[in-house]
């Protein structure tokens, strides 16, 4: 084990720091994207229109049972191939990162939608009825009554999904990103490719992830427990 040479030496240390930054960026951006998607699908679920409800259910059914790695491979390699086959010319370059974020968001979004739906169903229907009796518009009821409580009831599950999403960003390893925008594990692989030594960078990445998962996890769980307690107190 020679951490001084393979981890803390000049080019490699910079790569890993950059990788950590990218991991955080990818994790947070796709987390936000999936939250957006989750709420969109929740809105579909709550819609009186049957078509919207079916669309939401279909999306969840499709993406919850798709493995992430082949999905990312498809977005990165398969889509351009099919694009060319159809005859639309060359696939636009530089979309790798966007497609990666899209894949991660669609994957996590399906789970978040399911969680949020369970939360919305846990809000007592009498509350919605009471709100309607008070003369609130359906949109206002959703924004002021249903959504806040759904998020709070499901806060612990949401927090663990976000952490999971952060961990899922390691699968960016298989996507041909430009070198400077590879995430942590990708950078570790890059070091291994140059030094033929996987062990040191891997152990370093492991410790970073443990810190991240448990540190960030504790922070999110703290938030989640607070929010959850607020709903219980109300």
């Amino acid at each position: 084990m020679d951490f001084a040479r393979y981890v803390f030496a000049p080019p490699y240390w910079g790569w890993l720091c950059r990788g950590l930054g990218m991991t955080l960026i990818i994790g947070i951006t796709s987390g936000l994207g999936s939250a957006l998607l989750g709420f969109l699908v929740l809105r579909c679920y709550l819609s009186p229109n049957r078509l919207f409800r079916a669309t939401g259910a279909c999306y969840v059914m499709v993406f919850r049972n798709l493995p992430l790695l082949p999905l990312l491979l498809f977005l990165a390699f398969g889509l351009p191939e099919i694009w060319r086959q159809i005859g639309w010319g060359a696939f636009p370059r530089g979309l790798e990162l966007a497609l990666l974020l899209l894949g991660l968001s669609f994957n996590t979004g399906a789970y978040l939608a399911e969680i949020l739906r369970a939360g919305a169903e846990a809000v007592a229907p009498s509350q919605t009825e009471a709100a309607r009796t008070l003369g609130l518009m359906p949109g206002t009821i959703r924004r002021r009554v249903v959504y806040p409580q759904a998020v709070r009831i499901m806060a612990p599950a949401l927090a663990s999904r976000f952490i999971h999403n952060m961990k899922n960003s390691t699968l960016a390893l298989v996507v041909p990103l430009p070198l400077e925008s590879m995430e942590l594990l990708g950078q570790a692989g890059r070091i291994a490719g140059q030094t033929f030594s996987w062990a040191e960078p891997l152990i370093f990445v492991t410790s970073v992830y443990l810190l991240l998962a448990h540190g960030l996890g504790r922070l999110l769980n703290y938030w989640a427990a607070n929010e959850h307690a607020r709903i219980l107190a109300a």
Partner: protein, 253 residues
């Protein structure tokens, strides 16, 4: 000429391994096969090993293990087991599956010069993965178990071990079925991550196919995604229902 039949059979069984690629140090059946069949085999075996590992870890993490015995030595062993299991579970749960797989494939050789066939390493990695998550499920099961039933068993003259095997685990088992099904589907899907270390399961076979035959990668990946989806859906819809029927009220260990 490539036919759909050929493509499907490759996706199902993988490519035959050329004899010169088989390492003579290991039994050859561990190095054959691939495709969906290998995916299913790895998933099944690692769920099975994970079930044993997870139950053991959950048992280690019970409060009783830490401080129940009057004997100081037993208490020490108990608390050592408790903390080891806790560290193991928390570590595995904190790591992404890709990292866990890479660690399993690179560390044993680097640290101990231990060489194992890929399929064994793959099953090890996924067993730890499923075992860690399963131990949390089993632990939740233990928590939900009514302690008065435990006392009833003891009063009837059963030993603690009998209470565990004949009363607790059978009851918990039925409660855990939905969670177990979910976990099995998750492990099935996450086994695709083994492609990064070139284990010839379904996802990697797609890449092999593109490299050796004139076929559109996008099409192959769509087929792969489709087969994962169908099997995962069947697993998640069917198993919860059928297992309920198959697992009788009174199983015992």
């Amino acid at each position: 000429m490539m036919t759909l039949r050929h493509v499907l059979s490759v996706l199902l069984f993988g490519y035959p391994v050329p004899p010169e690629m088989i390492d003579p140090h290991f039994p050859s059946f561990l190095q054959r096969g691939g495709g969906m069949l290998l995916t299913l085999l790895i998933t099944g075996l690692s769920m099975l090993i994970g079930a044993i590992l997870g139950t053991a870890l959950a048992l280690c993490r019970r409060e009783k293990t830490k401080a129940a015995s009057a004997n100081a030595f037993d208490r020490m062993i108990g608390s050592a087991l408790y903390s080891t299991a806790t560290v193991l579970v928390e570590a595995v749960r904190g790591l992404p599956i890709a990292l866990l797989i890479l660690l399993t494939f690179h560390l044993p050789y680097r640290l101990f010069h231990l060489r194992l066939p890929d399929s064994v390493l793959a099953i090890t990695a996924l067993s730890f993965y499923s075992g860690a998550y399963l131990s949390e499920i089993v632990r939740a099961g233990f928590r939900s178990f009514d302690p008065s039933l435990h006392h009833v068993g003891r009063v009837l003259g059963l030993t603690p071990r009998q209470v565990l095997l004949k009363i607790e685990l059978p009851i918990i088992c039925r409660h855990m079925l939905p969670d177990l099904t979910n976990l099995a589907v998750t492990v099935f899907k996450d086994s695709s991550t083994l492609a990064i270390v070139a284990v010839p399961e379904l996802t990697y076979v797609a890449r092999q196919m593109v490299m050796s035959e004139p076929i559109n990668y996008g099409l192959v990946l769509l087929l792969v995604l489709g087969s994962y989806w169908v099997l995962a859906t069947v697993l998640s819809v069917l198993t919860t229902r059928t297992l309920r029927l198959l697992v009788p009220m009174h199983i015992s260990f």
